[in-house]
């Protein structure tokens, strides 16, 4: 699915990356804990989160995340927007809550970047 369709499904506002909405995405990961994102998220996935600070962009950059979807109508700070522009990481914001955001994308064919963790402590 193209990022443009993600935008339409989530009735999202594009904050950074209006010019890269043709980007193809297939998987997603959702969390507000960046250490969990670092532990589990895969390159090329969407990152669904309610955190808006610059560390979200740093985390996305480290992992080669395709795009960040801010849920619950969150708006990033100007520092976050500047860093996302510099590192060319799209940011979209949707008013849907995390559960609805994930559900609406899943119904249209986006799947988790991993279905479940491999052991009880969740280590890879």
């Amino acid at each position: 699915m193209k990022l443009r369709e993600v935008k339409d499904i989530l009735e999202a506002e594009v904050i950074v990356g209006e010019d890269i909405l043709d980007l193809e995405v297939k998987t997603a990961f959702g969390a507000d804990l960046m250490s969990d994102v670092l532990a589990f998220a895969k390159a090329g996935s969407l990152l669904l989160t309610g955190l808006t600070n610059t560390q979200v962009i740093r985390t996305a950059n480290v992992l080669d995340i395709a795009a960040i979807i801010l849920v619950r109508g969150k708006k990033p700070s100007s520092e976050t927007i500047a860093l996302a522009r510099e590192l060319k990481i799209p940011i979209l914001t949707t008013k849907y809550i995390l559960f609805e955001t994930a559900g609406r994308l899943y119904m249209k064919g986006i799947v988790g970047c991993l279905p479940k963790v491999e052991n009880t402590s969740g280590r890879n």
Binding site: M34, S35, D36, L38, A43, N53, R58, V62
Partner: protein
């Protein structure tokens, strides 16, 4: 095999403790250096993740640190030597979920007691030593094809 005789890159970077906005700059640098050297994407990501979690630890708990990146054929070494409070009990610190993080660290999306575990899990070799009141020394090795 004289690994050091065929050095592809050696460089070091400073991290300032307490400077939360700067956390991630060094790992972003390391990532672009490794990319330019033609290191495969999954290896670059591993190196970026371990250096990023280490940076978060330094800004959270230490006064300052020096990160050294050494790339030789077949291997990436990342070493982080900080000056700071040190870790009284390394076994405890390595336990997933154990944390002394304050609110500021948690607001950034960290401080859940996963940093050192993530570093260990993404490294092929991991070594940690620490002296209370002096600082902590991390050595990570990631193999490249």
């Amino acid at each position: 095999m004289g690994e050091t005789n065929q050095n592809l890159y050696s460089g070091s970077f400073n991290i300032e403790g307490g400077n939360f906005n700067s956390a991630g700059i060094v790992s972003t640098n390391i990532k672009s250096i490794l990319k330019k050297l033609g290191i495969p994407g999954d290896i670059v990501r591993k190196a970026a993740i371990v250096s990023y979690e280490a940076e978060i630890n330094v800004v959270s708990y230490a006064k300052k640190a020096v990160v050294t990146l050494t790339v030789n054929p077949g291997v990436v070494h990342i070493e982080v030597i900080d000056e700071g409070q040190g870790i009284p009990n390394i076994d405890l610190a390595m336990q997933e979920g154990w944390s002394t993080a304050d609110q500021r660290i948690r607001e950034m999306g960290f401080g859940a007691g996963m940093g050192l575990c993530n570093i260990k899990n993404y490294s092929d070799e991991f070594h940690i030593s620490s002296e209370v009141g002096r600082g902590t020394h991390l050595k990570m090795t990631i193999q490249t094809p």
